[in-house]
């Protein structure tokens, strides 16, 4: 059994909702929540199942509802029916109290004007993908009017097959509504839940180690709460209330952690919070700890039998937090090329690998790029090569450069316009005569700021090491840019 209440003009939405929630925990706010000012927003549907044992029959419930509303200065219409649709149509049509016996919804609604369906149009969509219902002045509303239909009973009486043949599935849906049938179950409005835990400490704590135990104690019930609701934490807030100093105001140390994916594991959250607090410690002793999370729908993971699983986001988050604490925030991540001619230009991006299942479909196992090794001769321990072959050639291999992030100064003796000997003062780096060289290649750029303008040479020293040298054209100084390795 469902009831619909409809507030008169000027009714407070909150007061109306409070009245509804006093009678039933399952209350549906009808209409678009963005349209609180519109008439739709002043309508609520209640699930009244079981209330007859408290208040008596349906009429008693309706009278009690009106009395409670009147006590709060509200004038409401009440309709009670076996279906939500019937209750809603009736409450819009008739003032006061309307009771429809379960099973007689179609008969009770038969005399109501067809235009009521239009008012219900966009406030109740039977399925997420369905089109809005026609309003009385819409094209389909005009069609129904042209057919001579004036009441819901007229529409309900039409043969369903013929209606579907002419208007499609939408026609069938309208007819069901006209008969007072529900197309979807009641979706109760869930009050906003707070995911927060706090603890007042008997004795202030100053170190992070005892704080770890406090955080663990707070985060474990929070994890259970999130798990019950199928949620994960998108943002973790840690609020530390510091001991009030004499004469001063009480300070609060606030930290918020944006998590890369929804996480609810208490140990992971505690580790992340502690690592963050290590790098941003509170200024004094703590006597109250509050932990809160911004909830978001939990993660659903589908593992694959075909590819190696990636580390879980919890593991990756913890790893990255530990690495950033150890190496520095900007020194861990994935490299990315940037659109620049400058040698060695790159940028760091967060390390967030995508699962291979998303990248590839079925060709993951049959790797395209890894060539199969040639046959192996088990006796000699060598690959089976054709007779007389001494070299195996691998084509299209990129020779890697080991780049000095800060170019190493060098002294270069130039003979006949090309480098002949290089001397490097840095310990561990060999200099010597140059046996082969190629160049120069001139590059320049960023002239409007700290740019570069240089001549590059690739040189091989007598010892075998191959360097990339450059001469800065403005200062005439030589540097080692990197080692080809």
């Amino acid at each position: 059994m469902f009831g619909a209440i409809y507030g008169a003009d000027g009714s407070s939405l909150e007061a109306l909702l409070a009245v509804a929630q006093e009678f039933s925990p399952r209350v549906e706010s009808v209409g678009d929540s963005r349209a609180f000012d519109s008439a739709q927003a002043r309508e609520f549907v209640l699930d009244l199942s079981g209330l007859t044992r408290l208040f008596g029959d349906a009429r008693s419930i309706a009278e009690e509802l009106r009395r409670t509303a009147a006590d709060r200065g509200l004038q409401i219409r009440v309709a009670i029916a076996g279906t939500r649709t019937a209750a809603r149509l009736m409450v819009r049509h008739r003032a006061g109290i309307s009771i429809i016996e379960p099973g007689s919804e179609a008969d009770a609604l038969a005399s109501l004007p067809l235009a009521l369906l239009g008012e219900l149009a966009n406030s109740q969509l039977p399925t997420p993908n369905s089109q809005p219902l026609p309003t009385s002045d819409s094209q389909l509303g005009v069609v129904l009017k042209r057919w001579g239909l004036r009441t819901l009973g007229d529409l309900a009486a039409l043969p369903a097959d013929d209606l579907a043949a002419r208007l499609g599935q939408d026609g069938v849906r309208w007819q069901r509504l006209a008969r007072g049938e529900d197309a979807a179950p009641l979706v109760p409005a869930v009050p906003e839940e707070r995911f927060e835990q706090s603890l007042d400490l008997e004795w202030p704590i100053e170190e992070l180690e005892p704080l770890a135990f406090v955080l663990g104690r707070l985060l474990e019930p929070l994890e259970a709460h999130l798990e019950r609701r199928g949620r994960g934490a998108a943002v973790l807030h840690v609020r530390l209330f510091l001991v009030k100093t004499s004469g001063g105001a009480r300070e609060v140390h606030d930290r918020s952690l944006q998590l890369p994916t929804p996480i609810r594991d208490a140990r992971t959250l505690r580790t992340l919070a502690l690592l963050d607090l290590e790098s941003h410690p509170p200024a004094g002793p703590i006597d109250r700890v509050v932990v809160a999370v911004d909830p978001t729908p939990g993660r659903i993971v589908q593992f694959s039998l075909m590819t190696r699983p990636l580390p879980s986001p919890e593991q990756l988050s913890t790893l990255m937090a530990r690495l950033q604490a150890l190496m520095g925030e900007t020194r861990c991540g994935s490299p990315a090329l940037v659109d620049s001619w400058k040698a060695g230009a790159f940028e760091m991006t967060p390390f967030a690998p995508v699962d291979a299942n998303v990248l590839h479909s079925h060709d993951t196992l049959n790797d395209r790029r890894v060539s199969a090794p040639p046959p192996f001769d088990s006796r000699s321990g060598r690959p089976e090569l054709s007779r007389g072959a001494r070299f195996v050639t691998v084509k299209n291999v990129a020779v890697a450069l080991r780049r000095f992030r800060h170019p190493v100064p060098a002294r270069v003796h130039v003979a006949d316009g090309k480098p002949a000997r290089v001397t490097i003062d840095r310990r561990g780096m060999d200099g010597g005569g140059i046996s082969v060289c190629a160049g120069p290649w001139r590059t320049s750029g960023d002239w409007w700021k700290d740019g570069w303008d240089r001549d590059e040479w690739d040189v091989t020293l007598g010892g075998g090491a191959t360097y990339r040298l450059f001469r800065a054209r403005d200062t005439e100084q030589w540097f080692v840019d990197g080692v080809l390795d």
Binding site: R308, L310, Q315, L316, R322, L323, M327, C332, S334, A336, L337, W341, G344, F346, T349, P353, D355, A356, L359, D367, R369, V370, S371, P373, P374, F376, S380, R382, P383, L385, F391, V392, T393, V394, N396, V397, A398, A400, R402, R403, F404, H406, K418, R427, G428, D430, V436, C437, A438, G439, W441, T443, E456, D458, G464, A465, T466, V483, L484, D485
Partner: protein, 254 residues
């Protein structure tokens, strides 16, 4: 008779759970599961390694400057990322050239790059890199984890306690991670790992200074394996890495 005696000794050791010290307790090479290996994606070298570097073991690529260590490592990482795995590089002295990695085919979004500092004292940079290596290995899930010690002074490397490498081995034992050290000389291979010693010689094309270009590196690799399981004393022969596309590898505009 001798076989009976050997079997009895092995059985006794196995009962006391000391069979890990037995050479024969290692899996036969012919029956090595391909999924337990990380190919280098250089066919001749993979054939010599019987498929690649073993997972769950500490291996090393050793050689002097310009011997092709980084080229081979990036090629191995490119193959791993192409298979959908993620890889990590502990870059002790911040030497990675991102353009080279991209040109080698490494999927950069699947590469975790941990950059040390060139300006920091070598021992401190090394200490941080080892701690970072430990964190990455303990997190698990990486196909290849490399520690670049190539330019770290040997004096600093020799100060590392030897049990450091044993701890590393204990962390990755049984995992799917192949840990690779890039060093200037053989350093710390685990019992089941491999050492690939490299020697390289640059190859050039063209005769004039202006027309000459670096076309590649001739590599010679020598594999050292535990108890000569992979014929460790035999060099695999000459391996030529030939660069036919001259512009792409070094990715410079000239």
């Amino acid at each position: 008779m001798a076989n009976h005696a050997l079997a009895a000794v092995e059985s006794a050791l196995r009962d006391r759970k000391l069979d890990r010290t037995l050479t024969t307790a290692l899996a036969p090479l012919e029956r090595m599961d391909p999924s337990a290996l990380v190919p280098m994606d250089v066919a001749a070298l993979d054939a010599c390694l019987r498929g690649g570097l073993p997972r769950g073991q500490l291996s090393e690529l050793a050689g002097p400057r310009s011997s092709g260590r980084m080229t081979l490592l990036l090629r191995m990482m490119a193959a791993a990322t192409a298979r959908g795995e993620i890889v990590a590089l502990m870059d002790t002295l911040d030497r990675l050239d991102v353009a080279s990695a991209a040109a080698a085919g490494v999927d950069l979004s699947r590469l975790l790059w941990i950059r040390g500092q060139d300006s920091a004292p070598a021992d401190r940079a090394l200490d941080r890199a080892l701690k970072a290596l430990n964190l990455v290995l303990q997190a698990g899930g990486f196909g290849v984890v490399a520690l670049d010690l190539a330019d770290v002074p040997l004096a600093a490397i020799r100060q590392i306690p030897f049990n450091t490498w044993m701890r590393v081995q204990r962390v990755i034992e049984g995992s799917d991670t192949a840990c690779v050290l890039i060093t200037s000389e053989p350093l710390a291979r685990s019992a089941g790992g491999l050492t690939v010693t490299l020697a390289g010689r640059p190859t050039w094309t063209g005769t004039s200074d202006r027309g000459r270009r670096l076309s590649g590196v001739d590599l010679r690799a020598r594999v050292v394996s535990p108890r000569k399981r992979i014929d460790g004393e035999v060099a695999i022969g000459a391996l030529t890495v030939d660069v036919t596309d001259r512009d792409a590898p070094i990715a410079r505009q000239r």
